[in-house]
């Protein structure tokens, strides 16, 4: 090791691709390799969680018990959520952050590259643990992803495994978030001021702060579950002076910021894509940053709107209602600015832009149903119904997932050097956007009519909309196979080479490096040319 420092400085320009498949992917410290690992893992988990959703929709296709046992249905709703949240959406954003943040701020790599490797390589083990719980005596988790006691504590051996899996996911997220903050604060190229940073980087900076603040709280909450089950503590046992509702408070103190952890990077992505295809700078760049920061701050003080029906004092209900409604203000600023960015732009509608526009419209629908849920007296009716299911799938599927897909289409040519098939990308988009509405829109009506969530059988009155929803579900699920096809085609078979600046209207450092981006970018700090940036001086 001693002579390495002196020796290797002479090899600046070389591409140090390690030899051997296992060696490369297991030991890598390269942000692009690790980003790819995250994205591939996320795609895999998207289909694992998706197949569970297919089982759920198949059982709900008709009233009555058709295909699975109720216990298994409950396992599917619980594990579908855990897999999609911790396995698909969060790793996808971390993967995008890994790939793009160093390139967007002119850094050679992440600040702590070895820890970056560990952040990723914990995840496959954590999900092996989680998924193995389905095959254990006493079956897997059946109490929902929120693991509310006392129900969650009545499970069999799997309780300990699920909790440890969540601990591992938490460790991974915290290390990933620390790395992202250190990278953004410490690795920016000279001249890349905070207020010149791409908005995706800003959104990740704030998201990473949320992650470090709340993942440990989740760890604490599930640790208390563990000791309540195995070591005789009474945290969530009223007979011992504890309170099951206390779990809900601690859980949602994590859970609500967690919801924004899954949407703030999506805001960042959409704020990158819309200016590119509207060929105008982002409207209100600083307002967008303030809005993200305000949303992040508010996320810490609104948690109990998830538990309006649990029996809180009236003052608490009112406070949490009004505080929650405040979130609509910065969110409204964002939607307004996206629309205003498009206003009088010379727009084109490539696949990333289509997904971004769909995001703006459909996420806003999800936001509005959220506003409805924030109203305490109304929530007494909606609580734990399919209205809630429709709401959070609008913000997570047509919000977070659509933004992830938009970003993959947007940056894939930069990653692999080839253009994807625009034709098949558009087919994938239209199939997804139509089917996802067939899937989730009727669930609003089901919920308003009183259909409870997490139930395998239902009143025949709900039959028609459930069948429509299931058809939309199978359609949406099948459409995602197109996405895999488009990505594989672009990476391995496409003959259409991408230029450095893949999109005519794109601005920012990532478009100044060749496509595909070399294994090591910016071995020396790039000179920041303000006219090439998306923000900063150009917007003044």
């Amino acid at each position: 090791m001693a002579h390495a420092a002196v020796h290797d400085t002479h090899h600046d320009a070389h591409d140090h691709k390690p030899q051997g498949f296992l060696h490369r992917w297991l030991f890598t410290t390269n942000h692009k390799d690790i980003g790819t690992l995250y994205l591939v893992f996320s795609m895999l988990m998207f289909f694992v969680g998706g197949s569970m959703a297919m089982i759920i929709r198949a059982e709900l296709f008709e009233p009555g018990m058709q295909l699975v046992r109720p216990e298994f249905f409950n396992e599917m709703t619980s594990v579908h959520a855990l897999v999609m949240i911790f396995g698909a959406v969060m790793p996808a954003f971390v993967g995008l952050g890994n790939w793009m943040i160093p390139m967007q701020i002119g850094a050679p790599d992440m600040a702590l590259p070895r820890m970056n490797n560990w952040s990723f390589w914990i995840l496959p083990f954590a999900f092996t643990l989680l998924l193995s719980s389905l095959f254990m005596p006493g079956a897997g988790p059946q109490g929902g992803w929120t693991l509310y006691p006392p129900l969650s504590l009545q499970g069999g051996n799997s309780v300990a495994f699920v909790i440890f899996a969540i601990h591992m996911m938490g460790i991974s997220s915290i290390m990933g978030a620390i790395n992202i903050i250190a990278t953004i604060l410490n690795m920016r190229a000279p001249g890349m001021d905070l207020l010149k940073m791409p908005i995706f980087v800003w959104s990740w900076l704030i998201t990473a702060f949320l992650l470090i603040a709340v993942m440990p709280v989740l760890a604490g909450a599930v640790t208390m579950l563990l000791t309540d089950k195995y070591f005789g503590t009474s945290f969530f046992n009223a007979a011992g002076g504890g309170d099951p509702v206390m779990y809900q408070h601690i859980f949602w103190f994590f859970g609500h910021p967690e919801v924004y952890i899954m949407i703030l990077p999506a805001f960042g992505i959409v704020s990158e894509i819309i200016p590119t295809f509207a060929r105008k700078p982002l409207f209100g760049y600083q307002a967008m940053i303030y809005a993200i920061a305000s949303i992040a701050f508010l996320s810490f003080i609104v948690w109990a709107h998830h538990m309006f029906t649990v029996g809180m004092p009236l003052g608490g209900e009112l406070y949490f209602m009004y505080a929650t409604m405040l979130i609509a203000i910065p969110t409204g600023v964002k939607v307004f600015n996206w629309v205003t960015t498009m206003w009088e732009g010379s727009m084109t509608f490539e696949t990333p832009m289509l997904f971004a526009i769909a995001f703006v419209i459909l996420f806003t629908i999800g936001g509005f149903s959220g506003l409805m849920l924030a109203i305490v007296p109304a929530d007494f009716q909606y609580h734990d119904t399919y209205f809630v299911v429709a709401h959070f799938h609008y913000v997570l599927v047509t919000g977070a997932i659509f933004a992830i897909m938009a970003s993959v289409y947007y940056w894939l040519p930069k990653w692999c050097g080839n253009m994807y098939s625009e034709r098949w990308g558009k087919i994938h988009f239209w199939m997804s956007v139509i089917s996802v509405n067939v899937l989730f829109f009727p669930q609003h009506f089901l919920g308003l009519a009183g259909m409870p969530r997490r139930i395998p059988d239902y009143n025949v009155a709900f039959a028609d909309f459930n069948m429509i929803s299931s058809i939309g579900g199978f359609w949406f699920g099948a459409s995602q196979l197109l996405f895999v096809g488009v990505v594989i085609h672009a990476v391995y078979f496409s003959k259409s080479r991408a230029q450095a600046r893949v999109w005519e209207g794109a601005r920012g450092l990532e478009w100044t490096v060749p496509s595909p981006a070399p294994h090591h970018t910016f071995s020396e700090p790039p000179v920041i040319d303000n006219s090439q940036l998306a923000h900063g001086d150009v917007s003044h």
Binding site: A2, A5, F27, T28, A160, V217, S234, A238, I250
Partner: protein, 290 residues
Amino acid sequence: MAQTQGAYYVPHGSHWPIVGSIGLFSTVIGAANWFNDGSGLTAKPLMFMGLAILVFMMFGWFGTVIRESVVGMYNKQVDTSFRMGMMWFIFSEVMFFAAFFGALFYARMFSVPWVGGEGHGGLTNYYLWQGFTPSWPTNGPGDIGGSFETIPAWHLPLVNTLLLLSSGVTITFAHHALRAGHRKSLLAWLAATIALGAAFLYFQATEYIEAYQHLNLTLGSGIYGSTFFMLTGFHGMHVTLGAIMLTVIWFRCAKGHFSADNHFGFEAVAWYWHFVDVVWLGLFVFVYVL
């Protein structure tokens, strides 16, 4: 091999993370099997093997970093990254303790009074827990774990407070000695800090034995026992970890790894030590005194 790319430092690939993942995986599988009353190789032995792998990983990983640091491969930027990493790690630890403090405050302010019929808990008390008068400490209306006594704040806990506070002073003296380049004084003050930490742990263990053997205060003593042992237990684990880290740093100081102006490893451990100190003050006030 590591490369210093132009002005930047980018480390070489490393097998330590995957070793760490295997260690973590084995540890939690072993622990989960043990909790589920499993016996045989896949329970405790697997857990201890996993922990051993984690220790091995830390030796290897930190060893690599120390070697790279000693030969001068790290520049100012790497140093800042390490500092930020440690600061945000400590912040995450603060939030971990916040969850347990939150549980303590919630139980004392809300759940115990409500079960006792205060506020909007009248019906709960009337139908479910009639006759229960809220108080603190309590093991709840079900008298979970049987009646118990608490550790008086102004005996051992006070001694422990003084021990930890003094250790915060001694480690600062050690830091000043390091910056002044007085290695003997540095090693002495650092050794004093470790000794104070060890004394703290000894008294904490004494207190636990007293609680279990004479006071009937256990982890199962309702919400008081739960919050008491979780908070002090996790704090004790952190002191143990901190003391181990200080010991490692003592040996590194003895080997001359640190210079007057470049000693982040020392500072990181000092920050961590102050953090466990501050958590203890919170514990002393809210768990023992009030």
